[in-house]
């Protein structure tokens, strides 16, 4: 642990040095436009495998979604679903039977034609007891899958789910061929506009255009996805022109410096990552709503956003993304007021505050937010001890064993407010009102009814002060000025290369 802290501190010192020095040195002499036939995209994390149905890592989806693998329907940059492998989906009036017509003339990268059997295979593989799919809820309502002919799939649900069709747009519902699915982790073969060439582990994945692609031909023939984890190294690679774009840099403090570079363009967008101070609602003193409210009132979210993300996060007041139509702006629901917070804490029986631990996972948003939050809570007498933990420990102790007081984490899955209704979830929160609202989001037959249920859920968790809702994690895209088609927001983690082109 000690070593890790030293390393982080050393890196922070390094970053500071880098930024100061970069400011005094002349700006880059080279403005290479690069080869118009290729694009080098840089991303922070390397995926452990390339099969989106075998692990939850966002990095897998960043490379494969809508590039190597395709889904029946797919999210666009605005988070709306668009047809992909499904030419049409028609649903029965009761929403229980869905008839999917597949596009014709689609082949996998190894030449195997796509048929309805592949859809059946892919979904049954995801539903199997030994499946490694991290989003099995998508397939849970499925009763049966039939194939009347080679290009038609009929899915009959055993229980109604209003979000069933949208779930099919997730990378976890990618369509595989039975012939190649087993090796998808290391040699992915899909139907997408780009096909896998090589993976130099630790450095890059190399892709090339799929010339037999059924849809619009991508503009760029070759694509390289490089992995650069270190925030300073990301900035250096962009400044040196090694990356044509970085999908989301980890150094928000470098944005001003990157913006000053005429060859680069910076776009501040949003991910679906609600960053929260989670509190163990089942443990004293956090089981007292007044204590949770006091903590919420003691934290100045704008300041945390400024300190941790240079102000690029989007403030939220509930566990819901402003990208979604059902979003309610509840940022004003709790006012920053340390004096009132102290009073509330005294009412709850803690006139002198109390001691609590704050377990922080490794990402910098958590580490940085944690420092600011701890300082703010000290103002109302809550003595916070910060405990940095590795992801594995976080998942084991905080998430699984619920052995924690407070933690800071970003919940990156879209529309994940349903976690508040889960039994034994790590928040330790239980509310029948909320459970009912979540059930209604599933059973709703219309978009309006579904959105209304989502709004009820948002109001409930905000009123109960389950957690402190800080901000949506930003997506800071940095790219060469001539590159077009990068997604500004991440409704899902994806970088569809087929949409890129050089000016």
């Amino acid at each position: 642990m000690m070593k890790r802290q030293i390393f982080t501190a050393a890196k922070a010192a390094g970053a500071a040095g880098f930024l100061t020095l970069a400011a005094v040195l002349p700006s880059p002499v080279l403005a290479q436009q690069g080869n118009r036939d290729s694009v080098t995209l840089c991303q922070t994390l390397e995926p452990p495998i390339l099969d989106p149905t075998g692990g939850a890592a966002a990095a897998i989806r960043e490379i494969t979604y809508d590039n190597i693998f395709e889904t029946l329907i797919a999210f666009d940059s605005a988070g709306r679903t668009q047809p992909r492998l499904a030419a049409s989906i028609s649903s029965s009036d009761d929403g229980m039977v869905h008839t999917i017509k597949l596009r014709t003339g689609v082949t996998f990268h190894d030449g195997t034609p796509l048929t309805s059997a592949d859809v059946k295979f892919s979904f049954e593989r995801a539903m199997a007891p030994d499946s490694k799919n991290s989003q099995k809820w998508i397939f849970a309502p499925i009763g049966s899958i039939e194939m009347p002919d080679a290009s038609t799939v009929v899915i009959t649900l055993k229980s109604f789910a209003g979000d069933f069709i949208e779930g099919l747009a997730w990378a976890d519902a990618s369509i595989f061929s039975a012939k190649s699915a087993d090796k998808a982790g290391t040699e992915p073969i899909g139907t997408g506009p780009y096909q896998f060439v090589r993976w130099n582990r630790g450095d890059r994945v190399i892709l090339k255009r799929n010339d037999a692609y059924w849809g619009a031909k991508p503009a760029i023939a070759n694509a390289i996805v490089r992995f650069i984890a270190d925030p300073q190294a990301q900035v250096a690679a962009l400044m040196a022109g090694d990356c044509d774009a970085h999908t989301n840099i980890g150094a928000p403090e470098a944005v001003a410096q990157l913006r000053a570079n005429a060859n680069l363009r910076v776009t501040i967008g949003r991910t679906e990552g609600e960053t929260i101070v989670a509190m163990n609602n089942s443990k004293a003193p956090f089981n007292d709503p007044r204590v949770r409210q006091a903590i919420s009132m003691a934290i100045d979210r704008a300041q945390v956003n400024e300190g941790a993300m240079s102000g690029f996060g989007t403030l939220i007041g509930t566990h819901f993304s402003p990208n979604h139509a059902a979003y309610l702006d509840l940022t004003g629901a709790v006012k920053f007021d340390p004096a009132a917070a102290r009073k509330l804490l005294a009412e709850a029986g803690f006139p002198n505050g109390f001691s609590a631990s704050l377990r922080l996972p490794p990402p910098s948003y958590a580490q940085r937010s944690g420092e600011v939050v701890a300082a703010m809570l000290a103002q109302i007498g809550i003595r916070v001890s910060i405990e940095p933990v590795q992801w594995a420990q976080w998942l084991e102790r905080v998430y699984r064993q619920r052995d924690y007081d407070m933690t800071i984490v970003a919940h990156v899955e879209p529309l994940d407010i349903n976690i508040y209704s889960r039994e034994g979830y790590y928040f330790g929160y239980a509310s029948d009102v909320l459970k009912d609202a979540i059930a209604r989001t599933k059973s709703a037959r219309t978009a309006e009814a579904r959105n209304a249920a989502f709004q009820d859920a948002q109001r409930r968790i905000s009123a109960d002060h389950v957690n402190v809702y800080l901000f949506m994690l930003p997506k800071i895209t940095v790219q060469k000025a001539g590159l077009k088609g990068m997604w500004a927001n991440w409704p899902v983690p994806a970088n569809p290369l087929g949409q890129l082109s050089w000016e």
Binding site: F7, A10, K11, A13, G14, G17, F18, L21, L25, P26, P28, V29, L30, E46, P48, I49, G54, G55, A56, A57, P129, D130, S131, K132, S134, Q135, K136, W137, G185, T186, N200, R201, G202, D203, R204, R226, F227, I228, A229, D230, Q232, A233, A236, A237, M239, A240, G241, D242, P362, Q390, W391, A392, Q393, L395, E396, R397, Y399, R400, H411, E413
Partner: protein, 319 residues
């Protein structure tokens, strides 16, 4: 001599075994489940259990320990929990980056350190000496990753001569590969070179004070001839010891430098494996690092005799 070698080999094996037990125990105690890390927050307990079975995490610790040790002896290091490919393959992929990087760094450090140290000693207390020693002091004080960042700023961003990081692979061409390793090797070499310069200077100064130096000069050898033929050879024993110790630091240094330069080497693999709780890879990597350090030290012990015949003689006498 044979007996000596056998004894050395046995000590080596025993050290490695102790290292293996410590590494296994420590990684075993660490809380956390690799399967849970892979599958994230939304996975159901059944899905995690399925992956655990797949990864062989169900087996009792003792069984896994012996599987690991015997696997090690046969070159089978198991399957990485995160990457789901053989660990041996992962390490083999990364060696062609880390090994040349370490060799390049140690070569640069030796050339730089030993020559500058010798020059400083031969001009002891002069301006050149003061300059070199001041430089060495800076070299010692500057952490290698920060020096790496400075190199990137100058050579990659401002001048555009070198890539700012990454490794295109040896298949892209020898010189392209070498170019990618040059800056990180230099960043690694600087602090090492600084240490070597100081050690060399002290050792050379000490040797210069010996009687044989006066004799050599009296025989009519020039300053440089004396230095080359008599002084340097005597001074090399402590320098060589230091060089071997430096190697261990170099191994640790690659972990940091490979991250700064985004190089796909063993150090970065270690970093990623720890982050992903890929314990089986961490274990094998630590073992490889520990093994390398232990082996280098053994080789250095054996080669002392080559540099210094007196040590060879002493050993002969004691036997």
């Amino acid at each position: 001599m044979i007996g000596f070698l056998v004894r050395r080999a046995l000590t080596l094996l025993a050290t490695l075994m102790v290292a293996a037990i410590i590494i296994f125990t420590v990684t075993e105690i660490l809380p956390g489940d690799p399967a849970a890390v892979m599958l994230g927050m939304t996975a159901t307990p059944e899905t995690i259990a399925a992956l655990r079975t797949d990864l062989g995490l169900d087996a009792p610790p003792m069984q896994r320990f012996f599987q690991w040790i015997f696997g090690f002896l046969t070159g089978d290091l198991g399957i990485s929990y995160a990457y789901r490919v053989p660990v041996a393959g992962l390490i083999a992929e990364r060696l062609p980056v880390t090994l040349p990087l370490a060799l390049l760094a140690i070569t640069m450090a030796s050339l730089l350190g030993i020559s500058l140290g010798a020059i400083a000693a031969s001009r002891a207390n002069g301006l050149v000496d003061a300059g070199i020693m001041a430089g060495a002091q800076v070299g010692l004080a500057v952490p290698n990753f920060w020096f790496g960042i400075l190199l990137v700023l100058l050579f990659s961003i401002t001048l555009g001569w070198f890539p700012a990081g990454g490794f295109p692979g040896w298949q892209a061409g020898f010189f392209i590969g070498l170019k990618a390793l040059l800056l990180p090797a230099l960043a690694l070499a600087l602090p090492q070179g600084a240490v070597l310069a100081r050690i060399t200077r002290t050792a050379v100064l000490e040797a210069l004070g010996e009687d044989f130096v006066r004799t050599a000069r009296a025989k009519g050898l020039t300053r440089w001839q004396t230095l080359r033929r008599h002084v340097m050879r005597n001074a090399m024993v402590p320098v060589f010891t230091m060089l071997a110790m430096q190697f261990s630091f170099l191994v640790a240094g690659t972990i940091v430098i490979e991250n700064v330069f985004a190089l796909p080497g063993l150090g970065r693999l270690m970093f990623q494996a720890i982050g992903g709780h890929d314990i089986i890879t961490v274990k094998s990597l630590v073992m490889v690092f520990a093994g390398a350090v232990i082996l280098i030290n053994a080789i250095v012990d054996l080669t002392y005799g080559l540099i210094d015949p007196r040590l060879r003689l002493a050993r002969g006498v004691s036997r």
